[in-house]
């Protein structure tokens, strides 16, 4: 089989922090070379299967850390097939899935089941995370070792905070001895119980039960103390408030193995977007103030916040068409993440290498994967997109089985043209 040459491309290299015009030579499902000299490209074009990208951007495929798929238990909301299609359409080449299913993914047997389902049906890479405690109930740790052997890439109870600090410290200590990564949802669980909004004027005017943004910092402070105690590899799933950032910075400066993520929604929306109780804007943690959004955006630019994720959470209409307090949390995002985040690029708030550092490079590095880079030897997991193409998002055209996106009707710029997994196209617009 001939090698493939993607030429006339704008190559986004998050490692080098550059966008350069050139070509990518792909061979055997991997990147063989990055070619920038025009002569070389002309020579190679004759010898290979050459594809003219007409100036489109090429970036390492997105590694989405924290995707909820409805299997097992809620296949009517999302299956591996539909999630995989949504991922491919959104330039996500690796889905790192959450264990907050029913039942929770807390035994090697359930993990085996979903790995088999994923491999059979999803067109993109699927890497599962497993629960940290049995049934995500926060009482006993799961068989972390067996789960690790079965392919779990990280351990998390997702949005259920392990409130018993002793249980968490033991689970973290045990994970430390296995070298496993623990992902936590930093939140003071009792303070934030029942909250549907961030406390402040907006929540008070709407009469919504609210939690102080300080609850996130309290949760993070506790977690970091436990990291100091146990030495575990730790990732905070979402840091969404300005008040939590100094604690994160201190932990990193002190040399702890700590990283943090942020959701696409907290980077692009604020609490006011909820407006008149629009439940598609109900996410966990709740949307924050504009000051908080600006602060986390700055933290993304400086690299204090490492990873951007969609926190894809499919919900059916019934669970969203309820009074705001009762409505389910979460939004779908696999397919919309890239165009939505390109709003930040078009507004001049972040550049493309920074965006893909958070979307591809950092999550891959955190999980020890060799993807997420545009360099020779890396897998040819790529997203090719036109950063400028305008469109109006229609939620009913999404690949995902659930259509709960807050961006329905939004005017966006940026379309995925092609998604490659190991050099093979899994999506073409």
């Amino acid at each position: 089989m001939k090698d493939t040459l993607l030429y006339n491309a704008r190559l986004i290299d998050p490692e080098a922090g550059t966008v350069t015009e050139g070509a990518l030579l792909l061979s055997g499902g991997r990147i063989k070379a990055v070619v920038t000299s025009a002569d070389e490209i002309a020579t190679l074009a004759g010898q290979t299967d050459a594809q003219d990208l007409n100036g489109a951007h090429v970036a390492p495929g997105i590694v989405d850390l924290g995707v909820k798929v409805g299997e097992p238990g809620e296949r009517h909301k999302e299956s591996f097939k539909t999630a995989g299609m949504a991922a491919a359409a959104g330039g996500v080449t690796t889905m790192v899935t959450r264990p907050d299913t029913s039942p929770a993914i807390d035994t090697p047997e359930v993990l085996e089941f979903i790995r088999r389902r994923a491999n059979e049906t999803a067109p993109v890479n699927v890497l599962p995370m497993a629960a940290l405690t049995k049934g995500r109930e926060g009482r006993e740790m799961t068989e972390l070792g067996f789960l690790l052997d079965a392919g779990a890439v990280a351990f998390t109870d997702c949005d259920r905070v392990v409130s018993d600090t002793k249980v968490l410290s033991r689970a973290m200590g045990y994970a430390r001895s296995l070298g496993a990564l623990v992902m936590s949802h930093p939140q003071e669980p009792i303070l934030s119980k029942g909250a549907a909004a961030s406390s402040g004027k907006f929540a008070s005017l709407r009469g919504l039960p609210a939690v102080s943004p300080m609850a996130e910092r309290m949760g993070l402070d506790r977690d970091i103390a436990l990291v100091e105690m146990t030495g575990v590899r730790y990732h905070a799933d979402q840091i969404t408030t300005a008040r939590a950032l100094p604690a994160l910075e201190r932990a990193k400066n002190n040399g702890f193995d700590v990283t943090a993520g942020i959701s696409m929604h907290h980077l692009t929306l604020n609490e006011m977007d909820v407006a008149d109780y629009r439940t598609f804007f109900k996410v966990k943690p709740p949307l924050r103030s504009e000051d908080d959004r600006q602060a986390v955006l700055e933290a993304l630019r400086t690299g204090l916040i490492d990873v951007i994720g969609s926190f894809h959470t499919p919900q059916d209409e019934e669970s969203k068409r309820l009074p705001f307090e009762e409505a389910a949390s979460g939004a779908v995002g696999l397919e919309t993440m890239l165009p939505v985040l390109l709003r930040l690029y078009h507004a001049g708030e972040v550049d493309l290498p920074v965006l893909f550092r958070g979307l591809s490079l950092n999550p891959a590095k955190r999980l020890g994967l060799d993807c997420g880079r545009l360099s020779a030897g890396a897998p040819a997991d790529l997203v090719i997109f036109d950063a400028d193409k305008p469109f109006v998002l229609d939620r009913f055209k999404l690949q995902s089985k659930s259509k709960n996106t807050p961006f329905d009707g939004a005017r966006l710029q940026g379309k995925v043209l092609q998604t490659l997994v190991a050099g093979t196209p899994v999506w073409s617009a």
Partner: protein, 316 residues
């Protein structure tokens, strides 16, 4: 005179001139209600359904009486007892009801925003009779009418709202309305009973009653819900009464002609002293109840006029 609303979901969407329009009409209905013959025909032929997902005697009977005085066919549905218990969703309930072709729907619900949600799914006029901790617009309007009649104006007054602001939809609606009409508002109470973001509300916040009531024209007391007492938000009933309950000593700090209001039902000896509540020179609590019927008549009348101006065969 204009009133451009399809529903009355809150004070927030109302313009000051719409508030004045409504209060002017309510004034006329006060006169009507004081006659021996109280009937008018503004709602003749229309169906009004009162849907209360939360217990209420006072508000529900006030709406019922208002509808009947204007000639509407009024039906009361107590929703705690019915389908909600059987697991029917709010939307299904709304659609079921909508099929019965009501013209006016009066809704009270324990969750904030539930009435807005319901209003999106029906094609009649919806009146919010209180949703969670969000709004209770007719209460704020009846309070405004009471103040206007007692003080001769509804602007440039110093008004103190005292007690459990955090959990009170009455406080929110009053705050919005009184701000729109350009009054100075003080919020008085312990910080556990203050909503978050209070500093951004454009009101002055006091935690001491004597300071908070100094030279005010209106003292508006709020009900303290039983479940908030006993150590949760305040240490005890008697301590609350001692510090924040309205008695003659505290009221002495207000202007000599200050009026005392309470949305009811009162906890005598908790947030208000019984003798003050009964003092006909200070307390306008009975007038508030009377104004309630008139304001609800005016609100339903105005909504019905807008309803009649629209084609009847409107699809959902």
């Amino acid at each position: 005179m204009r009133f451009d609303q399809r529903h009355l979901l809150g004070i927030e969407p109302l313009r000051p001139d719409e508030i004045t329009t409504l209060l002017d009409l309510a004034d006329r209905y006060v006169t009507l209600s004081r006659q021996r013959e109280k009937h008018a025909t503004a709602l003749a032929g229309l169906t009004q359904i009162n849907m209360f997902f939360e217990n209420s005697t006072r508000t529900q009977s006030s709406f019922e009486l208002a509808g009947k005085r204007l000639g509407a066919d009024v039906m009361n549905m107590s929703m705690q007892a019915s389908s909600i218990k059987k697991g029917e969703t709010l939307i299904d309930t709304a659609l079921t009801l909508n099929a019965m072709h009501p013209d006016l729907l009066v809704v009270r619900h324990p969750h904030s925003g539930a009435v807005d949600l319901l209003a999106q799914k029906v094609n009649c006029a919806v009146i919010n009779a209180g949703d969670g901790k969000h709004e209770h617009p007719t209460q704020a309007l009846l309070d405004a009418l009471t103040i206007r009649r007692a003080k001769g104006r509804l602007h440039r007054l110093n008004i103190a709202i005292c007690g459990d602001i955090a959990h009170s939809r009455v406080a929110r609606s009053n705050l919005l309305l009184l701000h729109k009409m350009e009054n100075r508002i003080r919020l008085v109470g312990p910080s556990t009973l203050m909503p978050s973001g209070i500093a951004d509300f454009g009101a002055e916040v006091y935690d001491d009653m004597a300071e908070g009531l100094k030279d005010v024209d209106v003292v508006m007391m709020l009900r303290l819900q039983k479940e908030r007492m006993d150590g949760g938000f305040i240490p005890s009933e008697r301590e609350y009464y001692h510090r924040w309950g309205l008695d003659a000593e505290k009221l002495a700090h207000a202007k000599p002609d200050a009026i005392v209001m309470h949305p009811g039902p009162m906890n005598r000896g908790v947030e208000i002293d019984g003798t003050i509540a009964d003092d006909i020179n200070r307390s306008v609590i009975q007038e508030q109840v009377e104004m309630g019927v008139a304001v609800r008549m005016a609100a339903m009348d105005l909504l019905a006029r807008n309803l009649r101006a629209r084609p009847t065969d409107l699809a959902v």
